[in-house]
């Protein structure tokens, strides 16, 4: 096994291990030491069977910064230099005239920024490279000196590593998909980094580019502006989404961007796909009520479902109702009436969709339209004082396989839940959900703090 230093991003630490495990399971990568991955430290020495497997892992991870093939692991610089003296072949391997090199420095766990030029200079003074030419732009050997600190205030590192860079993770995707430059966004468009992690947890995406890519079909029943199916398409999935709000689906009305006013003609979900050159992957957006499972035919089967159901806080949670049954207190959204080409089409009235029903509907739908072993990953709002694992939605045909938390406020958080379909549902099997808390999410959130 090859010892590899894996350096993680310090954001979204709760999602680190699930993302790592999902990718390893997707590629059947064997790793020794992955149990040591925790949220306190950000660098880990893990053992892999081959460099190819490390590269596969990096090709799909948004939370791994980079990985280094460890040549030396030591407790201090003195110890490092001693090891190099004893084993000069470590450096001789890289110090050859036909291979250019660069030495980079990285410190983790320390508050104050260190002078990396100084560290590199000290290292090269002690360990001179005589033969290899320097190339900072495109070195053939990109060497790293990594310092790991125990406490942010420590003056000397706990560990010093030296080795060659194997590759970087895909953190550039969060920049590529940033919301500031995205053509069409809504009030609750998912953070790009989290959206990629969510898609990663579905695990379903094709193994490597050279292999045949199974044509995964991915559905988002609350598609909004497409924030969750864009990353699915980036990784090769064919995607579909349903949206109950006519204006959102057609990108009409007021922009979510401050000071912009009405949305531009050019904004649309399709335009988002065109922006990232994945428009081939968009099967369709449908204006439809996701609580009506009968919009899907009996042969409809999806490989994965991603969802961020509206909690009714920043976006309304709604489903359609028969007009005659609309009770007095039911909320009716006036924006659902439009004048189109001189005749008036009346759209269905909608009522508030209580959160428990929304989530049981979602699991019931998944149990029906997912392929066996298909996965659903969705965000679930939680009131901290009411939360316990037993109260999560439960469907006999669906198994909870991952549960990560993102804190939101002092009283609330949301959890990214991933379920796998373990078998076809038997008739009349439905999702069970405890009436504890979720339906009070809105009222708890808007209750003023009692000082």
């Amino acid at each position: 096994m090859i010892p590899v230093l894996v350096i993680f991003s310090q954001s979204h630490v709760d999602f680190r291990k699930p993302e790592f495990d999902a990718i390893c399971s997707m590629f059947s990568i064997e790793v020794n030491g992955s149990d040591s991955i925790n949220q306190e430290s950000h660098v880990f020495v893990l053992h892999f069977e081959s460099y190819l497997e490390v590269s596969k892992l990096l090709s799909r991870s948004i939370l791994i910064k980079f990985a280094i093939d460890i040549s030396i692991e030591s407790e201090s610089y003195d110890n490092l230099y001693q090891k190099i003296n004893e084993n000069p072949e470590i450096i001789e391997k890289f110090d050859v005239p036909e291979k250019s090199f660069a030495l980079r420095f990285f410190a983790i766990g320390r508050k104050k920024k260190l002078d990396s030029m100084e560290r590199i200079k000290l290292f090269l003074d002690a360990v001179p490279f005589k033969n290899a030419p320097i190339s900072l732009q495109s070195p053939q050997n990109e060497l790293y000196l990594v310092e790991e600190y125990e406490n942010p205030t420590d003056t000397s590192p706990k560990k010093v590593y030296f080795g060659k860079l194997i590759g970087e993770g895909r953190s550039e995707l969060k920049t590529k998909y940033n919301l500031r430059e995205r053509c069409y966004i809504g009030n609750t468009t998912m953070d790009p980094e989290l959206s990629f992690i969510q898609v990663r947890l579905l695990k379903h995406f094709p193994a490597n580019l050279a292999m045949v890519q199974p044509r995964n079909l991915v559905l988002d029943p609350f598609v909004g502006t497409g924030g969750l199916i864009l990353p699915a398409a980036e990784f090769g999935g064919f995607v579909m989404g349903t949206e109950i709000n006519y204006q959102t689906a057609r990108a009409k009305g007021r922009s979510s961007r401050q000071g912009v006013g009405e949305r531009d003609e050019s904004e649309s979900i399709k335009a988002n796909f065109e922006q990232y050159h994945t428009e081939d992957k968009l099967l369709s957006i449908l204006i439809a009520d996701s609580s009506k499972h009968g919009i899907w035919s009996l042969n409809a089967q999806f490989d994965a479902i991603v969802a961020d159901p509206p909690y009714g806080v920043r976006e309304k949670a709604r489903k359609t109702v028969k007009n005659k049954e609309v009770a007095k207190d039911v909320y009716v959204d006036r924006t659902d009436y439009f004048h189109i080409s001189n005749f008036r089409i009346q759209y269905q009235q909608k009522e508030e969709y209580d959160l428990e029903s929304a989530f049981s509907d979602l699991l019931n739908l998944s149990a029906r339209i997912l392929v066996k072993n298909g996965r659903i990953s969705f965000w679930y709002p939680v009131i901290l004082e009411n939360y316990c694992d037993e109260n999560l939605p439960n469907h006999p045909a669906m198994k909870l396989i991952s549960n990560c938390e993102q804190p939101l406020t002092r009283k609330t958080s949301r959890r990214l839940l991933t379920y796998r379909k373990i078998r076809e549902p038997v008739e009349d099997e439905v999702c069970e959900i405890q009436k504890t808390g979720v339906s009070h999410y809105r009222s708890v959130l808007f209750t003023p703090n009692k000082a």
């Binding site: 081939d280 449908l286 009520d289 007009n323």
Partner: protein, 125 residues
Amino acid sequence: MKLFVHNFMSSRFLKNVTVGYPLELTVKQFEEKDIEFDRENTIVMLDKVQYEALLVAAAAVNQADRIPSEQPAKYDELSDDQLKQFHHILMNIDVVDGELICPETKTVFPIRDGIPNMLKVDAEK
């Protein structure tokens, strides 16, 4: 809406509709793309497809002659050229303007700018 999507949709959610499948399809405008063909993927896709409904969709764009009128026994025995015809029907055709119609109640669901609207108020009558 790619033509393939029609295969997955029904109108069973309407009152008094028992089967609601396949939906009738009229196409006023469509675009033809050139999406990369992949043999395995096309087979995986075809395994999920209901064949009679696929014929309905192909006929709606006057391209039913691309594919056999009877369902082939095994998709993986088809030649690349045959599968490319299926790939064209499933993935290359984007319906821009048209209608999906419930086969039982004749409720019309309009498709505009490539987006079908399954919410029309008539749907509940």
